[in-house]
Amino acid sequence: MDLLIVEDDDAVASALLAAVSSAGHKAERVFRGSDALLQHRKAAMILLDLGLPDMDGLEVLRKLRQVTLNPVIILTARDDERSVIRGLRLGADDYLIKPVKLNELLARIEAVARRMGRAAAPSSELTAGDVTISLDHRTAEVAGRALSLTPTEFELLALLVKHGGSIATREQIMDALWGDAFAAASRSLDVHLTGLRAKLGRPGYIVNVRGVGYRFEANPP
């Protein structure tokens, strides 16, 4: 896959280039936000730093989102909740905080890519780690064990797995389940999540990202 790395720190940029190359991706690196806006068309995915010399990364993201739906992963040193939430709200597909482990970086890139691929060609079978979901039969299995899920729990699980390891915000989930992103049903989402977690059997499949939403972890520790 062709990646565009927007990063002003040379050491990080070269390490990132080496890292993604090790997984067989091709990558190009730009230094400034304005270059990113010029060159994004060549890349299938963008790794975006927020602290750029010419403009703020969130501004780059906002402008990118006006012209492209290509996946954007924010990789930054900014770890305050406000930046995380704003980044994801502005349309980033994932938000990683430096320093990030190589495996995690590659897994997130794959997860986002997988999700993009699914969006293009919907399949009736979803798999993530031990979990298999059949959208046609509306059944789900964990390591061969069939789960008896309520319709809402099934929708919830399918939605999280479809996001393929990247974060689904509470608003996205509520919008998909109830058709209303700002419903007062926030509490009932918690109820369904608790039920789903109990049925999955192992804690750690559904990771609560504080203040943002939820992420499906295919291989929990």
Binding site: R78, E81, K98, K101, L102, G204, N208
Partner: protein, 465 residues
Amino acid sequence: MRVRVLGVLGILSLLLVLGLAYSLLSAGSRELTQELQINRVASLNRLAQVATEAAASNDWTVLQTEMDSYSNLYGEGILVHTQDRALASGALDPNRADVKDAFFNASLNLSLTSVEPLWPFGPSSRLVSRSFGSANQVLGEVVLEVNTAAAQAKLRTLWLLVIVAAVILEAGLLLLAARVTGWVLRPIHRLNSAVLELEATGFMQQLPQDGPPELRELSRSLTTMAAAVQESLDQQRQLIADTSHQLRNPVAALRLRADLLQLQLSDGPGREGIQPVLAELDRVEGLLDGVLTLATAENRLSEGQARQAVGPSSSAGARANPALIAQEELERAGAAAALNGTTLVWGPEPAGDVDLDCNPLELAQMVGELLGNAIKYAAGGTVEVSVAAGPGEVRLDVSDDGPGLPAEQLASAVARFWRAPQHRGIAGTGLGMTIVDRLARANGGELVLAAVHPHGLRARLVFPR
């Protein structure tokens, strides 16, 4: 200080007003007395003249007519004694003691021609007397009654005027003194409360420039000093935040390089060698996260204190439901707990409304930190989280049945980078409890650590409501 300054100024102004009133009144009284005296002594002299002539001609009718017309006109009695006769006009009793004294003195050629200073109240009858006769012989005595009622009435009016004026003047002076005292003291009080505020919160609002020039100067210096203190604190905090932020890039590069190296050294002896490097890298990352979180928490703390100093009403009230947050954090911690065999227990469901004023994200962060600590140090045991509402407060407890901390270590547990000597073997930064403590205080609450019987630690977050 205000009372003392005002007291001194009040006494001084009272003395001033009394002195002024006294001199005015005595001058008035003297003038009236003098006028009366000059007037009556002239009359007395004239009567004595007439009496002398009457004695010379032995014709007393002129004198009697003169006396009668005088008494009719002025209503004051006159008595004239000679050796062989006594003439009287008006209503002056010849048997009054002072009248007799006056005759006696006059017969000794002692004239009584001065009138005692007048008082607004008191006897309204005075006497003047003199003898008459030729140069070598006293022929008789004249006693003239002086009726002072009219003069006293005038004097009373004067007293009334002066007293009213004095009261008004004194009130004006006291008012002026109060204004001056306030003008001098207001900046002092303000400086004082500003210094107290600076001491308590490390934050001081701009002082208005008024009052005497010296105090204005002082308040300017104080504002400058406070700004310098604040700025240096801010700079220090910013430096920590910036440094750890700037460190993230090289550490990120290092982490990726080390992971790549490990991947490339997939077999062979080098793989063993890189493990300690990765472990150290984990520690550096943990420290970096801790220091940055602490810097943010301390920033929030000083913000919170500044807000409290301005007034409780302005605290933007973010509400948090601690029961909901605690359950969410229990879920999140579930994976870590399952890994080291710790049991997580959600305590009795709290009765009624336990919502409290706290940033929900920060409350989640605090509970998460406390849970992480408990799972780490009480591995394999049971960790219970409970929420309860007490009178005027909400308590959130995270208690474990691990080894706990001895009493003398409980107090130092919230100090930066403090780690219990017996826990050196367990990875950690010594920043977790510090962060929880700062965040709790930033939200108006506090962290209380206590021992659990028979062993274990209870971390309690107490928030007022």
